[in-house]
Amino acid sequence: MNALVPLLLMFLPLIAAVISFALPERLAVWRNAFNILFAFVKLLLIGYLLREVEAGRSVEWRYEFLPGHDFLLRVDSLALLFVTLSVFLWLITTIYAIAYFGRGPNLARFFGFFNLCVLAATGVAISGTAITFFLFYELLTLATWPLIVHRGDEKSLRAGRIYLTYTLAGSAALLAGILWLKALVGPIEFTVPPDLGEVSPIALTLIFILCVGGLGVKAALVPFHGWLPEAMAAPAPVSALLHAVAVVKAGAFGIVRIIYDVYGVDTVAALNLGLPLAALASVTILYGSLRALMQSDLKRRLAYSTVSQVSYIILGASLVGPYAVIGGLVHLVHQGVMKITLFMCAGALANRMGIKTIADINGAGRSMPVTMFAFTIAALGMIGFPPLAGFISKWYLGTGGLQSGAPWVVAVLAASSLLNAAYFLPLIFRAWLLPRTAGTTVREFASAEDWMLVLPAAVTAALCVAVGVMAAWAFSPLGWATRIAETGYLQ
């Protein structure tokens, strides 16, 4: 029975995608119902998986799809962390997307590819071998491209073009890296770290650079982050789920896999690859925040903030200390929850009140209080305001940095927090305190649709608070990350 669950996890979004593609526009109601239904079923599956993995039973499905290479879907605790995050947030964003679009053109196509994206994201999470990971990693690019060019205007086409140039080049590098490593040590299975003893260090370093470079594109590390702000031309649900959570996390998740499951902690330390990566991540953190400060468009500011926040995860992963790993992993979840709230609120503001730039947000609090409240909580969380999610991950990253002998990490975190405050607080300040200057004033809950538009953001905002406050709870993301770190990597 256990082998079937990952397969089911794969087939559900596939069926949903096919249904979404097939149903004509006038049966949109049915399509929405199906999407939400499948999201719930998937959530139940995740619940079952949680119980299984907790009880220690291994859940995997293996099939040799290329001579010498297995297509392995295995749900280990790390995979479960990312899967739970993406499945839960997919449910939220589906509801949000339904409300956001209402009756637009090409929606069947949108929801079809939307489901394919989640299939790819789940696939990335529960892939057991390097080639399976690559397969879903590439599928993610293919599934997200149509969503970026969904509107079909010149801007989104240009964004799509840039997105493709970056991601396809990145995945080519990744493929080269994986295959080169396979040539040296045979096919790579994640939780069975290959013995890299007799492989020449130069080759290992080059392979590491190739793999991390390839993954770095999706994880928006500095030289390769160009596509993320451009991808903001896509509609809000896309930027919310994909460019804040699924796509960007796939890159970071991949890097965690490479560092801990392929190379292993001691090899990375021996080759001292950890520090340069940490340095690159830190540069990205600061650069991202600085560019966010200079942006005048709301979504681009959030995009640059994503660029910097994702590098927290990579920073944590590359510092190879117990606390740093926990910090990185837990930020994987926290950043997802916070950023999706921000994007959903930004989307709701843009959709209902036409707020595009920072100046338009004046007095938004008065006409859309709940959305603005959620936005404020998520923004405060990003800054690291204590009880919220951001603080927990910053705390672990900081102490982790100190623990693995890199005190400058604390300085980076401090500077980044200041920059975060510098570009988030004015937003909150304008929204709540300044009077409404431009644009329409609209009642927040005019129709049922509005409930579905605002509630998701509220739920995720509440999640930010709960995750932060209840951090020490066994089943909180922090508890889960600690368990992963202890069992998985730091015997």
Binding site: M294, Y323, L380, I383, G384, F385, P386, P387, F391, I392, K394, W395, G398, T399, L402, Q403, V410, A411, L413, A414, S417, L418, A421, L425, F429, L433, G468, V469, M470, A471, A472, W473, A474, S476
Partner: protein
Amino acid sequence: MTSESLLLPAAVAWPMLLALASLTPGFRSCLRAALPLAPLPALAAAFLAPREVLVNAPELLLGGGGLMLTDAGAVFLGAAAGLWFCAAIYAVRYMRDDAHPVSFALFWNLVLAGNLGVFMAADLASFYVFFALLSLMAYPLVIHDRKPASLRAGTVYIVLAVIGETALLVGFMLAAHVADGAIMIEEVRAALTASPTQPATLWFLIVGFGIKAGLMPLHVWLPVAHPAAPTPASAVLSGAIVKAGIFGLLMFLPLGATFEMVGSVLAFLGFAGLFAAALLGLAQTNAKTVLAYSTVSQMGLIVGVIGVAQAAGTPAASVLAAVALYALHHGLAKGALFLGVGLAQHTTGAWRWLVVMVLAAVALSVAGLPLTAGAMVKEVIKEPAGALGASLIGVSSLTSGLILARYLFVLPASATQTRPPLMLLAPTVALAVAALCAPWMVLTWSAATIDYEPSDLLSQVVDAWPLGFALILAGIVVLLRLKCPTLPEGDLLFLMRQGLLGANATLRRVGRFAQAMATPVAREQRTKQRGAAWLNYLDSLERAAQGQAAIGGLLLLVAAALGAALLYG
């Protein structure tokens, strides 16, 4: 977990509950009425709650944390709760026709919760949570009336508050690292005292708490922000919230160990602040600003004493009790004085003289008039301050006397009303009385830790010469109607603002320049010309490939090449 120990979490949870309640529309009407209820559980906790008992919630925050009341904490808690209670009653009447009641009630309660929580936190995480709640949620109070001036003040406040928060976060991380992962405050402090940490950890903590406590160079926001807030809020800001900074220093500085350099610098900054702030206060015209400067100077005194204790390595116990007592007295007194300003606006004639008399009594106590509680607490705090410190404290009564005289002089005249409303008068008087008697009561309770035997009356009077001199000076000024020079509200602030504006302008210019450089348009032209050259080469290659001659010729060429390769292969 006896019922009393439940008081601690209740003290914090109750105000938060009220804050949430103020958000629900139904509760709008009795919003302000509920304000005084908020600090009650905390007041009860200060007296009844068992000391040194950890009330922990394992799942919350970083796990293992919780609330615990220490003796000094109890004193601080009691003082703060009392002050909040009176200010709340005052606010009920004072904020009756306020434009933004919901925002005031919401943030008032949140700041209260933060303030109370800081004194009870047992672990780093909860301490940091309450401290952040306290400092960030106070911002809306500062800009409550939305006037441009208060908005500017608010900006300064929030910038420095955020910097303080970040410094504190870094300090806590370094401290936790020194205590290799432990997050309970005692363990952290023990680790700090035991191991010779490099001073960086301490400096971050000092900066973090210094900003809140108004330490000299970091005090710039205080004289600008406190007056901007509505009167009850200013009272609380100066009376209770500033004490959080002091409490933080007490909690985290390794008082047992001797840290020469850190201690002496702290002492110097403290005492410098004591005198400079007072003198700057004289040059102000707004009563609340004068009081704010007086707060800065008093806090300077306390920090100076802590600095000396840190340098000398005196054990923590004695310092804690003395500072707690002093803080108690200063909090209540400053609260009364602030409320007095609001009250003065509403009284004329005979009542006004009564109010002035009460305020004068409190002022004299703060200045250290012998036989008053002020003198007693000054005496008590001289003990850990060392010889130089004690004499400085003695002299300081001159400057504090002057500044308080200035305060009385610039008290705002009343517009119309003759009788002061009871709801405003009662809390001010209550606070004044509390300020004068509470220190004595606390002294008796904690006799074990503080041995204070009042010296005979004559020597006290002799020691009080600076105060006498100050009174004489004030008298002369009043008689000759001399005009004091006036300064803009924030002193250092003015310079910093110019610097900031300049930096911002250059940053924006750099940003525009980088943008221009990287525009893709320029790049595309360049590639176009270069590309055109080999494009037509490609076309000619294609035409040749399709040409007639290619048919046979190329085939034979390829065949020949293959043949050769086969031969020599």
